[in-house]
């Protein structure tokens, strides 16, 4: 399997550095975006396998970004983990994120192995999404093909009828 790509969206310099080291160490390719706006752009162009995002960030926060990502055909099947330090109202924020379509969340103080475990669960989801998308594509192709065949049949039948008519009229 090719190297899996993870996009980290976080404004905190210390935070994103440690994410990068942990994830690179685990063999992932890591890209970094500094806020929601950059995150959107990066998600579209890089097509990561998983996104890890902070909640509050300048320019565009995590909730806003997740909402947009999950509405966009190009990015809606990328699993998202929301990560944050605990603060007041965190429960409400996390609920809002899950409602917006994020798949997973976790709080600080964070545990490296937990993070890696959650990432690999998300990658499984990504694989399932990918498989599903692929199957859908195949199904559609098949469908299109069978529809096409049916049309051809109808067309041929018409021709046969027409020929039969012609034959009948010659007699």
């Amino acid at each position: 399997m090719s190297i899996r790509k993870i996009l980290v969206v976080d404004d905190s310099q210390t935070q994103k550095n440690i994410y990068r080291e942990i994830l690179t160490g685990a063999g992932y390719k890591v890209d970094i975006a500094n806020n929601g706006v950059e995150g959107l752009e990066a998600a579209r162009t890089i097509q990561p396998d998983v996104i890890i995002t902070d909640i509050s960030m300048p320019l565009m926060d995590g909730i806003e970004m997740v909402k947009i990502l999950k509405k966009d055909e190009r990015t809606k099947y990328i699993p998202i983990i929301c990560a944050s330090a605990t603060f007041q109202d965190i429960g409400t924020k996390m609920k809002a994120l899950l409602d917006a379509g994020a798949e997973e969340y976790f709080y600080m103080p964070q545990d490296r192995l937990e993070l890696l475990a959650k990432v690999s669960v998300m990658l499984r989801i990504r694989t399932i999404y990918n498989d599903l998308l692929e199957k859908n594509r195949q199904l559609k192709q098949f469908n299109d093909a069978s529809v096409g065949r049916e049309l051809k049949m109808i067309e041929l039948k018409d021709k046969i009828t027409e020929l039969e008519k012609k034959l009948a009229s010659r007699k």
Binding site: E21, G27, P58, D111
Partner: protein, 521 residues
Amino acid sequence: MPHANKAAAGKIAFPEELKTRLKSFITERCGLYFRDHDMRGLEDALVERIISLGMDSAVTYYSYITNPDHREDELRELLNKLTITHTYFFRNEPQFKALREKILPEIVERKTHSQTRCVNIPGLDQASEKPSIRIWSAGCSTGEEPYSIAMTVLDVISDIDNWDVQIIATDASTEAIDRARHGIYGKTSVKPVDRKHAERYFTVKDSGENGERYAINSEVKKMVTFGFHNLMADDFPGGFDIIFFRNVAIYFDLETTIKIMAKMYSGLKDSGYLLIGYSESLYFMQDKFKMIDWEEAIYYRKTATGEEKHFEIPISPSDKSRTVDEVLENISRAERAATLEAEASKTKPPQKNIEELLVRATKLYHMKDYTKAISVLKEAISANRDSVDPYYLEAQVYVNMSKFREARDSLAKALAKDRMFAPAYYLLGCISMEESLFDSAKESLKKAIYINKDFPLAHFYLAHTYRSEGKASDAIREYRNAIKLLSEAKSDDILAYGGGFDTAAFIGACRDNIERLKMEN
């Protein structure tokens, strides 16, 4: 390897298991890492050492090198064989520039001045009272460093005959000293020498199969006195104006290095200069030296005795019986006392105000209310212009806002208040990394380590920088350094500047990255 030994070399059995153990022993002790294709070189060096020691098996050698009685000496011998090619003339050019343009001119000026006064004393024998300069190249290896020093001295002092210049160069490897005395070098080590020096101080010898060889001229050679000296020995030369102690400490463990640094301090005259390499650190002695950060170079100057209040480090011969732990304990106790005293004298009423403001700003920072955090910090700065903390926090806020120029400004101000504020260099390094300026990132991170050797995150990000440049073995070394420092903390400690992860997370990340780098290379 000499031909005569080739037959003997074949007889040394080298079980794989032992090779692995020796490899990891060296890596653990010195952070030198061997990739598969380096193993051949390591093996050759090991065999060579085994033969020189008159041993007949690798097992005997393993128990010899791991024995604390000769561990350091032997490691050094071995590493000399392994690292000998890394030495070259004018290594760390910025430091030589500082020697040429700052250090030597200052010494010459000072000594000429005092000499004039001496001459005025009636009846003094002028001939025997030439002003003297004593320089020590400690751990001189094959002589490139002391000869570079000699050439620099000749650049600066035109009337060399009127001076008594002693350059003492020592090493614990007799083989290295023999080669240094010989003074004949290959193309690679002479390559950094500029044309002017090359033409003036070297003679080209053509020795056939080995390509061109360069012999150092007698004018330079006669200025340097080589000698055997083990830095761990109790007798230590003294009275130096300048000491070079560069890229030697990697061979020693922490305790030994601390002892050596304390002896270096004693061996320097008041206001003497100390030039150390990036692998060296001042260890607990920051207040005994003044750091001079000139252009690209960093060097240190001993603060004159009595000029500044500082704690005493026990290093006299009577302390010989002390264990390393006791010495360390003494040092840290003295250091703690000095810190407490300094803190007590600092506490003044306005300080309280700034502390409150800092707490508020920190909260806002964590809540990501950056604009408000900045305005509170501006208030803190105007409340107390001497504190570095608000500037540092301000820089952190700017970094998170991706406002790197502003962050650099804040850090410059913090450093103007305190040149020894290691976190500022650390953050500068992080900023440079964000901007993909790898060289300046490394420079800043190394400065942070220079000042505070106990800064695991600086090693951590230095490793990242090396990895970004594709320098796997350097990266691995720095990950190891980080692990070493991190292991000293409790594993569930939340690390300062660590972004909410505990030390175990950092250690795990380091280990993973080392494994990955090994796999990839």
